[in-house]
Amino acid sequence: MGIFDGVAYGFSVALSPINIVYCFVGCLLGTIVGVLPGLGCAATMALLLPMTFNLEPTGALIMLSGIYYGAMYGGSTTSILFRIPGEVTSVVTCLDGYEMARKGRAGAALGICAIGSFFAGTVSVIGLSLFAPPLAEWALKFGPPEFFSLMMLGLSLVAFMGKGSLLKTIMMAGLGVLLGTVGLDPMTSVARYSFGSRNLLSGLDMVIIAMGMFGISEVFKMIEEPVRMEQMISVPKGFFSLLPNRQEWRDSTAPILRGSVLGFLVGILPGGGGIVATFLSYGVEKRISKHPERFGYGAIEGVASPEAANNSATTSNYIPLLTLGIPTNAVVAILLGGLMIHGITPGPLLLKLHPDMFWGLIASMYIGNAMLLIMNLPLVGIFARIVHIPSSITGPLITFICLFAAYGVNNSAFDILVMIVFGIFGYLMEKIGFEPAPLLLAFVLGPMIEVALRQSLGLSQGSFYIFISRPISAVTLSIAIFLLVAPPLAKVVRGWINEWRR
């Protein structure tokens, strides 16, 4: 099937009434979640997973994806109007977006966000439809050694995910891999870390850990410190106030283009997600701007480019997931978990075995982006009002839904206990500077890496030469090793240069 046939086929799947409804529900929920500070994308998707068990998998995937990119739209709204990032990825938007709003250009900032996001999302979906099929075709030739090296690359990029210290990020990732070994060993069925409990024999559930560390621990944070409204900018009234003026258009066209391309490239890399893309594109815009002093005081470029990069990266995150079966960040890891529960293993075979799902999802992204643009421009006032629901009401209700959803995953009360324990653990660890995202991603990648390693060594009868003798594996593995060695190395080199200058 060619790419155009594929996209056309995808539209025939995505345009079925029920899938349009799923897409709409996903986008709507995503926007709401994006607007609500405290309730993150990862938690929401983990929460909704058990409720999608009864849906057919394509519809479930379309809805969950809608939540993911919908949240990226919604996150910017609160950044601009309240200087509260609804999602971590819209932290950068606060800088110039809120300043624009204070100068009375809130409408233009919101408008350029929606338009830039729409443009970038669409560019990225086109890229996804062009690049994913050949990549999947190519990846069919991959064996365990290639997958081992690719996932090692993914794991080493996790080190760059965290905001905090490198050592702590690595420790959390190590713990994630260790937690992934709980249960029966996939190769020899020996029990590991089951502590004599029958419940632990089947291993820990990724969805449960995600709900605990991203949902419950967020609620604890809200109990500790209720979200406070800062001085609020009134929501611009009327559709035309959302349109940027001619000067603003001129200033933001090129940044949106650059942000889209940059975001797309960053999003393909394992470990690269919206956060990296937004900071990178803000930095680039500031560097190449003729008036860098305007940044931080309401420069429209500083809003347009990161927002575009964010949405572009969100979509290109799907490329490694759909073609290689490798998750690039915590949210995509949950999507992967959801697919596995439906009995579908994402990877090179997905396109061959489930073309309806592959192309249906891609087509639904075209539709979803258009829906979000239509939804976000006129309805921005309504979404902004959601923020006013106090966290003292949302917190308990989120907790309740978590409890409900956790029970639903395996119909077991033990899962609730695991979720609460991870919620408390995640909350306390984050308090002392250990972030949960590397743990979750390593938890998903760990078992896959272990199996690939042991299969490879089985193939080569115990020789590590197999990882170097195969070109793809050799290249990715050396990049992975380089990345792990690079940060300390860079520090050393910087030290030398400074000394030499003195």
Partner: protein
């Protein structure tokens, strides 16, 4: 202080990991068994925690002594911790609707201090609606507990 606690936690996790994977067949590096990854990973965690320990020690002697921020509302947090853990333990026996009703009252009224009217409304409506919805539509058999239906 932060880092000392973190190092301690990871040290403990690593040691537990070592103890409980010691007896599993490790195999060799070219033919790893089931115990290979857990054992050596635990070892690495122990080493990393020692590294963090010494780093924070050096930092503290340099006069940079940051303390853990203790929440002003810590009593509420503890009651939420305990309440949720209890919930997980009793849900199978007491049932979903009743235990959810109680946990929502705890969270809304005693942790967040919302009005009794709102508390009772939300904690009655949400568990009942979700129970009905899941039993009829999602076919998740939530525990009935002591209620007859």
């Amino acid at each position: 202080m932060n880092d000392l606690v973190g190092a301690g936690v990871f040290f403990a996790i690593g040691v537990i990991g070592l103890l409980y994977s010691y007896h599993i067949t490790r195999g060799t590096i070219s033919n790893p068994g089931a115990g290979f990854l857990p054992f050596y990973l635990s070892l690495i965690l122990v080493l990393l925690s020692l590294l963090l320990f010494f780093k924070s020690f050096k930092f503290q002697r340099g006069g940079n002594n940051e303390r853990i921020k203790i929440a002003t509302r810590w009593k509420r947090l503890i009651s939420a911790f305990v309440g949720l853990l209890l919930y997980a333990c009793v849900i199978q026996r007491v049932g979903f609707v009743i235990s959810s009703f109680l946990i929502l009252i705890l969270l809304l009224r005693f942790v967040e201090e919302r009005s009794w009217r709102l508390t009772l409304l939300l904690s009655l409506v949400f568990p009942c609606v979700f129970y009905f919805f899941s039993v009829t539509y999602l076919q998740i058999p939530l525990p009935k507990g002591i209620l007859p239906f």
